[in-house]
């Protein structure tokens, strides 16, 4: 069975199970990308379309435990604690091209904020400014507490294994080699990934690299988590696990700032900040 035929049959099966057309389309696009990246046949990877559609439909049904779903904005505001991130009037230009203009942002402990907007409006740049990796020409950024940062790409050593990354990233957060490996493996397991058996980073798929980036950001329980397109390239099950992990961090009073332009993220966060493109001078 060709991948196109498999995806078409899956689409019919999902529609027959009552999933909205827009969700079905999103699933098909995502699986198409996943198959192109990971290789292999859809039948070998996911099994028969009907059976996989059944699994997907079951996993996408509303979850019985309210703890696993994002509370309303008002609910989160009640629970949110001290201010962890404050950005005021952040302005940054790159080679005279305005990227950010007068941007304000506030994220509190126990709050999950989505930073969204069109491509090129400066979402990742703002995250880098908050992380201290880029310096704005104007404005003020204050971050209280330790920071875990997951970049959209890069930030890893191609010839080191994930377990060796855990040792490097865990060390400044007070984790010795064994504890760092155990903590990293535990976080990776929450994303459905056996990190200790993984080869060097250069041999990992794009989605698995993003899982590693997320794990490294969360290692040692930092107060502030900055995640740039963290589930880009992740399959559906891993995406669901990712949100479970992020909600757990939020519930543990961490301040979490997620950059994404994925539509499904809108309903999963406490607050949405949409960046607008700055007007050129």
């Amino acid at each position: 069975m060709s991948p196109d035929t498999w995806l078409e049959e899956l689409s019919h099966e999902l529609t027959a199970r009552g999933l909205p057309a827009i969700d079905v389309a999103g699933i098909v696009v995502e699986l198409h990308g996943h198959l192109a990246e990971a290789g292999g046949t859809p039948l070998g990877t996911f099994g028969p379309p009907a059976a996989y559609a059944g699994q997907l439909a079951a996993s996408l049904r509303p979850r019985p435990q309210p703890r696993s779903s994002a509370p309303s904005v008002a609910g989160s505001r009640r629970r949110a604690g001290r201010l962890r991130i404050r950005a005021e009037g952040v302005t940054l230009a790159y080679r005279r091209r305005p990227v950010l203009h007068g941007v304000d942002l506030a994220v509190r402990a126990g709050e999950l904020v989505l930073l969204t907007g069109r491509n090129g409006v400066g979402k990742s740049t703002l995250l880098r400014v908050v992380a201290g990796l880029a310096v704005p020409q104007r404005g003020r950024v204050t971050v209280h507490g330790s920071v875990g940062y997951a970049p959209q790409s890069g930030g890893l050593v191609e010839h080191l294994r994930p377990a060796e990354h855990f040792v490097l990233f865990g060390r400044p957060r007070g984790l010795d080699g064994d504890r760092a490996r155990r903590s990293g493996a535990r976080l990776a397991e929450q994303l459905g990934w056996d990190a200790l058996a993984a080869p060097v980073v250069g041999e990992l798929s794009g989605g698995t690299r993003q899982k590693l980036n997320v794990v490294l950001a969360g290692l040692g329980d930092p107060d502030v988590l900055l995640l740039d397109e963290p589930y880009q390239g992740l399959d559906l099950d891993s995406t669901r696990r990712f949100w479970d992990l992020v909600w757990a961090w939020r519930d543990a009073r961490r301040a979490v700032l997620v950059v994404s332009h994925a539509r499904d993220a809108l309903g999963r966060v406490d607050q949405v900040v949409e960046l607008q493109a700055p007007v050129a001078a």
Binding site: G132, L133, R138, V157, L160, R173, L216
Partner: protein, 243 residues
């Protein structure tokens, strides 16, 4: 403020050892690159193997080229991850010291192997002098590569910079001013001392040039690495205010 930013020196040294070990692991897993690293000085040596003096001079320049290239690519590859690690709490000093230490260890192993080769394959007048030549060349090569790794924004730019430095050192007339301002002038001078004797090359001039070059490069690497890596930590420690 100290280079360690007020942290314990012992802890920073421990961190540097971990960073160095990880750098070495990463380098040793690049089997093909490692084989080419060994092959480059060997090819230069074998091309002039029949001439005692020229074979050793070319070996040393090949070693300079190979080790500086390895140091440059190690620094360029580490740029993103080192910034991320300083954000996680590493001191910039530990990361840079660990990386440079790992490359020095790799270079020392390489130059030690080649010294052994020269000892069994060439009737050298002063083997100790050759050892000094290869050792200083290794140290300078690590620092030249690390310097280019911190100033060149892209790999191609840095690689071309290396070609210019190493190529010019090959072609420039040793007594000329141009040859003397290049970083590997001492390689040639110390080689001549070891091969032809003190009447033709000066040990003290060679060592002085190597020490001065190493000092300048080390200072530049330190200042530029701190500027590149320490920004994130500073802005988090206190509110970042610009105008």
């Amino acid at each position: 403020m100290s280079a360690t930013g007020g942290r314990g020196v012992g802890r920073d040294l421990g961190d540097a050892a971990v960073a160095g070990r990880m750098t070495l692991r990463g380098l040793l897993r690049r089997r093909t690159s490692l084989a080419l690293l060994v092959a480059l000085p060997l090819a230069f040596y074998l091309a002039r193997q029949q001439q005692v003096g020229q074979s050793i001079r070319f070996l040393a320049l090949g070693l300079a080229w190979a080790v500086s290239t390895a140091a440059f690519f190690a620094a360029a590859a580490a740029r993103d991850v080192e910034r991320r690690l300083t954000l996680s709490g590493w001191s910039w000093w530990s990361l840079v010291a660990g990386r440079i230490g790992a490359l020095l260890a790799l270079g020392a192993t390489l130059s030690g192997g080649y010294l052994l080769l020269v000892a069994v394959d060439q009737p050298v007048r002063d083997l100790g002098g050759v050892g000094i030549d290869l050792a200083t060349t290794t140290v300078l090569a690590v620092l030249v590569g690390s310097f280019l790794g911190v100033v060149a924004r892209r790999e191609l730019e840095g690689a071309l910079g290396l070609f210019i430095v190493s190529g010019l050192q090959f072609t420039a007339d040793p007594p000329s001013t141009l040859a003397r301002v290049l970083p590997f002038w001492s390689t040639r001078e110390l080689g001549t001392y070891a091969i032809d004797g003190p009447s033709f090359g000066s040990l003290s001039d060679g060592l002085l040039h190597a020490a001065a070059t190493a000092l300048v490069l080390l200072l530049a690497v330190t200042v530029l690495s701190r500027r590149a890596l320490d920004g994130g930590a500073r802005s988090r420690a206190s509110p970042l205010a610009a105008r």
